[in-house]
Symmetry: C2
Subunit: 572 residues, 2 copies
């Protein structure tokens, strides 16, 4: 492609709302433009990258036996009412009313639609298994869309849904998808990890997320470097660690703690380690006030909490709500707290002679002992992991924490949707059974952005060859020099005819501008054709990733480029 | 693809709402399923057809120098307010309110979004021309969606938008698109005609529609078989034909016409040809009552009327509205009709001593003469063409009428959007000018449906090889016969390895069912492998289109299939 015929407008400055590298660079290098909050247009270079990602996804999905369908984006409310999600999905679901006042939504996901589709035509175990996928546009009305296409409201997703006659088949489908996802993200040149994950609003019994490792990732993962166990911190299993040794249980004692409200203040005031504290947080969960206890040096993970209490929504209670149950912010504690459900993290169980608020101003309790002075309605693992937590899978492994970008997510759904929506089939014995489902998503644009998070420097993007918009850019440094133009054109044509997708920067711009934009756009290779080099009988081939420059005679350029691209591809 | 691993559920009966062949057959053969009124899911075979159509479109668009982009489906109201279409677009525009109460719509077309995109980055004539296209999902909230994907509410469209610095460039882009469209529809094996068309809600100065000729088409076109002129009946230019010879103008005369209201009744009662009548229709146009006159034997074309009076909406007035302007249904006439704008078709001008209603019960006027007894505010060409109308382009050509399905539409937009939205550039002289635009659409799903309208018989679809879901189906008639299975598998593998996309019907079904479904799905070729044939050393190759059957030795099957497919492709 001649850049004079292409449309790849570069910008000097990134927009003010761009916080992370991929967002800044995709805008600056002319891959995307913002239309509205969380809604982006893809420019031609952006489309080329996305098409390459899609092609890899399609190949691996087809190889795994999945069949491509294409489902509507506008979905009738009635199906969401059948699954029960019309009520619970909340404001992220973009609801639409048509001209006849019928209710619809812009699909954020397609479990309902696909289940409806399959239940109409599938009758027998003979029609199963089935794995249907699509690459399609979704809308989730995020309250705070950000990071460009990374957390957009309108976005492209590959979503697949499997239907099986038995658990065994469902697990096979799940494993096939896990393998396909590993192949996809490997081919796309990403460093990633598959981690155990929470199933969230999609539901189901088990799931794995595919996390691209990056500092700017919104997700946090815990992983054991000894046995390979890895999980989202929302899902990681943490064991309790006894902290108080073999101390004797003593009697509850009230103590004045004037002007000390936070754990840090009280801990300093009493000269006691914060691990002795039973931190008491008042939450509102689905409209009910609850008390949540956790060891003073730990934090609550709200997703774990949600799952533990099987709730749809939790948030810290307001000051008024806290007071409505007879306690107060800064001095809340479980002792004597009545008519409030108490949920405690497992870490609380082993505390002996702990400290808590006394539900009175400037007062705490000493020698608080679970089971004696209060009894939680539920103990559960609801805490945030910390580095060094013991691995739940192997003997003496310790967990490390890292940040990741979720690019894929696979779920074992079980019969959640098929039961609710009566997607049944006749089994071998002629009995009606709900189909066993799985669902499998990949964020297409997010995958491209994640690649940039892993592959960029101060000058711009460094695309892996597998998804670069062009394999190489040929840079004639002077359009006035006939020989420069002739050689550049000839290398460009040779590359085109040789099966590559090259760009030719035939724009009338200064060499410095061409170099900067080439680095910014992130072509894996640059071929520099200048008067000076030609006088020495050479052109220069620069590897964007390493900065390495090689000189080669114009006749040898094609071969050198081919060889270098192959090497780069095999590394990635 | 082995059909046991594919998902192509056939149905015996078409749904009750399916009126035309393509709708019935796409459902019955397992290409699409309905999700809601005008909203369809594509099953795997449907996706395969659509991908092939898209590939042809992309190739020809790229060849013509257009660049692929991908624009959001959710568009902010503010842009539509800038263009002025937020108010005028009506209920077909699916309006959406997001969680922050901001207004959006589901894009029915993308002039606003693309104009906004281009105005941000294009500064100079040096950045022009530009032609950007996408293949993307649109939503138009049709009041009566029907005919399956032919007139769906959610549908896939290829839309392109060109931007030029001058009229000449804009015309070049338009011509390039006309050429590209001709190439696309030819390659897709369609019989079509490019016709002059009305510009409708999109606006602009000129346009052509690409019409696939089919009896079930919703559009009507008029074409001259002598000079090749062709136009939508909404756009066709009709000349007036004098009917009354050289009769002398006589004086207006009232006549009683008891019980005669319709043109036919009055014409019979008075024994006068209906071409002598000045038919008077009372319309409501954008809220105002108007009178529309036309020769008694002609009909009004409302799109032409809309354009003539530059109105957004017209409909026949209600009985009450008719009476509110001092006339009545059945006896309306222009003589003495006051305070009402009168628009007359050009055919009225040459009527001498005509007949009209007298705005009184059971009364008509004789000897009515335009210019003398009444004067229309406007004469315009607002009538429906009739077969035999003279061609407006050549000397003695006559127009014929045909039905067509609009699969493509190209528009010269001029500066309609760029002026309203200030999409300006600096020209060679450094002056700011609005860009000159064109826009170009193809209905992707509709093109597939139109192909079926042209290519089917009582047994099912007859796909042209260029867009068939599979090139050929191999039919082993007995799965119990090892030799049948072996030969079928071997031909299937040979086809796969030889660059074809074959299907193998390895389902355990009776031969009759396999034959019927193969005809229904419309594979261009069927390869029948049966015990009886093999005993004679042959398999059978059937051409779906002609029904022709050829026998060939199994070893020769690949070559015969290849040759036959090539022949079929070149015919289409």
């Amino acid at each position: 492609m001649r850049l004079t015929k292409f449309y790849i407008p570069a910008l000097k400055e990134a927009p003010a709302d761009a916080e992370i590298a991929s967002h800044k660079l995709m805008i600056r290098a002319g891959f995307i433009r913002k239309l509205a909050a969380g809604v982006y247009s893809l420019l031609p270079a952006g489309v080329k990258v996305i098409r390459k990602i899609e092609a890899v996804i399609r190949e691996e999905m087809n190889r795994a036996g999945a069949l491509e369908v294409y489902l509507p984006s506008v979905q009738p409310a009635s199906l969401w009412e059948e699954s029960g999600r019309w009520e619970v999905y909340g404001k992220e679901l973009l609801r639409i009313t048509d001209r006849h006042n019928r209710e619809f939504c812009y699909g954020p996901t397609h479990e309902e639609v696909i289940t409806d589709l399959v239940r109409r035509d599938v009758r027998s175990y003979r029609d199963l298994p089935l794995n249907l996928y699509q690459i399609q546009t979704k809308f989730r009305d995020e309250i705070r869309p950000r990071f460009g296409v990374m957390r957009a409201r309108e976005f492209s997703m590959k979503d697949a849904y499997s239907f099986d006659a038995d658990e065994e088949g469902a697990k096979e489908n799940y494993e096939a998808m896990r393998k396909a996802y590993t192949a996809i993200f490997s081919r796309l040149g990403l460093k990633f990890r598959a981690v155990e994950a929470d199933t969230g609003q999609i539901g189901g019994s088990a799931s794995h997320e595919f996390m691209v490792l990056a500092e700017t990732g919104e997700d946090r993962i815990a992983h054991c470097d000894k046995c390979g166990y890895a999980a989202n911190v929302e899902k990681v299993e943490l064991s309790d660690i006894a902290v108080s040794g073999d101390e004797n249980v003593q009697d509850l004692q009230s103590v004045d703690t004037p002007n000390a409200k936070t754990i840090e203040e009280v801990s300093e005031f009493l000269d006691m380690d914060s691990s002795r504290f039973i931190k008491t947080l008042i939450y509102k969960a689905d409209g009910n006030i609850i008390a949540v206890l956790i060891r003073g040096d730990y934090e609550v993970n709200e997703t774990k909490l949600l799952r533990a209490i099987d709730s749809g929504e939790v948030a810290l209670a307001s000051e008024e709500e806290v007071e409505s149950v007879g306690t107060m912010v800064g001095f809340a504690g479980p002792v004597g707290l009545e008519n409030v459900r108490i949920i405690a993290d497992s870490s609380v169980k082993s505390i002996v002679n702990g400290v808590t608020g006394a539900n009175r101003v400037d007062t705490h309790f000493f020698n608080v002992n679970p089971g004696k002075d209060f009894t939680p309605g539920l103990y559960a693992d609801i805490r945030e992991a910390v580095p060094g937590d013991p691995c739940p899978r192997c003997d003496d492994g310790k967990l490390s924490l890292a940040r990741g970008i979720e690019v894929g997510h696979i779920f074992q759904l079980g019969v959640k949707y098929s039961e609710a929506m009566k997607a049944n089939f006749l089994n071998r014995e002629g009995k009606e059974r709900p189909m066993i489902m799985g669902c499998y998503g990949i964020g297409v644009g997010r995958t491209g952005a994640a690649s940039i998070e892993q592959n960029h420097d101060d000058n711009g993007i460094i695309w892996p060859p597998s998804i670069a918009p062009f394999d190489v850019v040929v840079l004639p440094l002077s359009l006035k020099d006939e020989e420069v133009v002739r050689v550049a054109e000839s290398i460009y044509e040779e590359l085109k005819n040789g099966g590559f997708d090259p760009a030719l920067d035939d724009r009338n711009l200064r060499p410095g501008v061409k170099f900067n934009e080439s680095d910014l756009v992130g072509y894996p290779l640059q071929v520099v054709v200048g008067r000076k080099g030609l006088a020495d009988g050479v052109v220069e081939v620069k590897i964007r990733k390493t900065g390495e420059r090689m000189t080669v005679a114009p006749e040898g350029a094609f071969h050198k480029i081919k060889e270098t691209l192959e090497k780069l591809s095999s590394i990635d």
